[in-house]
């Protein structure tokens, strides 16, 4: 599967997402087209595959016992980031770059974020950290939005500024949304 994704990323970067067919990818990865679909389900999923870490929500739930909601999510995200940053940084950067340049991929990614938002809201409510349904959903949406914005900001600078740093700045803004001014960057 990694071989298929790697071959697909190469082709997409070389020729553009729309100009590459599933047949091309299958041929480059030395598998058949139906196999690609069995593994990934759709063309977009080849790029989006592996985007999320299922243990992240467990970590959030654990941290909710001692920390306020926003801090719990922020710290869990930073910890997850540290874990994968060393190994997968370049691959994530490549995928994010593709993602931001092709509307079909952006839409699919945004759909994934909605799913993650719902899962996060369920954790916030389940742990009684934010009992009200609407409140939990609003917080989860804000958090997921901040994460997405941070990743896009990171990509726009070619990954030169550590993603953890940007994420902290984004969360700081979330925690004090009404205060437009902060110290100089």
């Amino acid at each position: 599967m990694r071989r298929v994704q790697a071959a697909a990323l190469d082709l997409f970067e070389a020729r553009g997402y729309d100009a590459v067919t599933i047949e091309d990818i299958a041929r480059a990865a030395e598998v058949s087209a139906p196999t690609v679909y069995r593994n990934f389900g759709s063309k977009e999923r080849i790029v989006l595959w592996d985007e999320y870490d299922p243990s992240l929500l467990d970590d959030v739930a654990a941290r909710l016992a001692t920390a306020p909601p926003l801090a719990a999510v922020r710290d869990a995200l930073e910890a997850a980031l540290d874990r994968i940053y060393a190994d997968d940084r370049d691959r994530i950067l490549r995928r994010t770059r593709l993602l931001m340049r092709h509307p079909a991929l952006r839409a699919a990614s945004a759909g994934d974020q909605t799913g993650f938002r719902d899962a996060l809201a369920a954790v916030l409510r389940g742990r009684r950290a934010v009992p009200d349904e609407l409140d939990a959903a609003v917080l989860a949406a804000a958090v997921v939005g901040a994460l997405a914005v941070a990743v896009e900001h990171w990509e726009r600078q070619d990954g030169k500024v550590a993603l953890g740093t940007i994420l902290r700045r984004a969360f700081a803004r979330l925690e004090a949304p009404a205060a437009p001014r902060r110290r100089g960057r």
Copy 2:
């Protein structure tokens, strides 16, 4: 175009989104299939068409002169809502219902929200209300997320609670994200 959308909504509700082909819609609306594509561009757009109001961003920009960012966006949204609520409430409810039940539509809608988020961030920055790029993007993402969550909450209750009320509650949560408790609902 309204005739095509109305016919499509009827068919989607009766048979389910996936079971209806463009040919079916074209036949029901008494046009040809290529015409449907020329007008809407894609199957999802038939449902999503007319979702946004271009003058909304101008209104936000105007309000930024006198109000803080969150209040400006909130008031502009409520005003826009009041304007369309009387006429289009039922149609929006039907479309939202379809939207939440079919992953392809959810993803497309989420992609639109990303576009709206970027446009809103540009307005916040352009008016010097939130000069920093990341700050503006975080705020815009939080706002768009809150709006989406409010609309979904509204649909989940079959539109029985006024959308404006839900939106105000969502924004109240955004403005004080660190305070988990509020007065009883």
